[in-house]
Symmetry: C2
Subunit: 239 residues, 2 copies
DNA sequence: CGTTGTGTTGATATTAATCAACAAGTGTGG
DNA sequence: CCACACTTGTTGATTAATATCAACACAACG
């Protein structure tokens, strides 16, 4: 339990319970033995590891997409910006997440560390060679990409068709499903981030949160601590 | 030009100009020689081909995800529904598109043919065997999935943060970029479908369309024929 | 203590949705 | 070829949801 399959910083998959402090944003995935122990050294040589302080971006939308990233510690928010500053957070990345997969000459989003973060990156050519040598790694990537696509479609339904109330309920359920004790939820993000993730304003998020509290679906114990009082009602709302 | 690399109905990639009648929804992709001619017969044996009449669904959200599809003719809309009937179209699929990739026991969306459609489908186990035998096919799938992910993020920005005007402008630009003569655009979808794709109502789509006409950005020649009069302005709006 | 950042609440404005009527195509049968 | 129904699209009036603008509360921090 809780053991990661890591190749000198390359976290390919992880298992079981989640470290609740640093990355409740990472979903658990089952371990697959993608890279033989004997090859770790060779792999490590191909990778560049680095640390990113909280608040710093390490992938910038529009810049040349030269690298492929794997998050090995911490977490990040991924977003797109409009020229006038409107922002849409498209997702969060925790330990084990892969970033910069797309075949495009520039990055399609910005990634900003939400807490001190470590990554391990490869040049695209190295990545290609890596995938040629480890077909299981490629399978894993395809699996990951396919799942993210499903999540993205879910998010489109939310952004295009759900009310503020439904969005919040969905968000709370989604967040709480990722942690061991899902009744007491510590929100890992600010109101602004929730708003930008759900396509709302901070004011609407705040108001809707108190509204859910008035309905006794949740109880707020400080603005980051949420007690889930009626999971069924929230689930029904989230639809 | 216009030659597809098809293995008895398996369209893996296509090249060059697009057949404007049946599938202006398919983006062109460069040809990659994924499957050797000699293996076509073996492949065809593993696949089930079928025809779907316009308006019929052939993938249903929530049903067991036993098959993996490849569209070989026609086009489809992909959508998710809420219990009360609200609908979000998450994308369109044309010739060469792959559907049902995700590792999940049920489909995450519904696919409905927009015109008579042909597909070629494999069981998941067959697919796995196929990918083991043709790593290039797997690479292609990863490439496709990664690109769709980028498109999905773009759509999230649109649904979460753009105005009706911006959404329409983006839609018109996006549609017109897929056809050979991008100044005269024949919309392949109804107002209802545009609305469900952009997270709006038909009324808002209709109003915004006439508004764009009043601004002389476009001219409507019948509700499906759009003359793009000021592509630059539309591009700026689409952001 | 002030200061700053973050969150909440209130008043008002704005956008898009809803409800409703009508117009324009499209297809069918006489 | 026309009358009719039927679907699809447009326009208008009104409402509802959320955004915007503004004030204030609260906590963290020097």
């Amino acid at each position: 339990m809780g053991i990661w399959r890591a190749a000198r910083g390359i976290v390919v998959a992880r298992e079981g319970a989640i470290d609740p402090c640093s990355s409740c944003l990472a979903r658990p995935v089952s371990v697959c033995n993608v890279i033989p122990e004997s090859d770790l050294a060779r792999l490590a040589a191909a990778a560049v590891e680095a640390e990113v302080p909280a608040g710093r971006t390490f992938i910038n939308e529009g810049e040349p997409a030269d690298w492929f990233f794997n998050v090995t510690a911490g977490s990040a928010k991924l977003f797109k910006l409009l020229p006038d500053g409107r922002r849409q957070i498209t997702g969060f990345a925790g330990i084990g997440h892969f970033l910069g997969l797309a075949v495009s000459d520039t990055y399609a989003f910005t990634a900003e560390a939400m807490e001190p973060l470590r990554y391990c990156r490869f040049s695209r050519t190295r990545l290609r060679a890596l995938l040629d040598d480890y077909p299981l790694m490629e399978k894993r990537l395809l699996e990951v990409a396919a799942n993210e696509l499903v999540a993205a479609q879910e998010q489109m339904l939310l952004l295009g068709r759900k009310t503020a109330r439904e969005r919040l309920a969905w968000f709370l359920m989604d967040m709480s499903e990722r942690i061991p004790a899902p009744d007491r939820l510590e929100l890992p993000v600010s109101r602004q981030d929730i708003a930008d993730y759900l396509g709302l304003t901070i004011e609407t998020v705040s108001r809707t949160m108190t509204q859910l509290q008035d309905d006794e679906f949740i109880a707020l114990e400080g603005c980051r601590q949420v007690l889930m009082r009626d999971r069924q009602a929230l689930q029904d709302l989230a639809a």
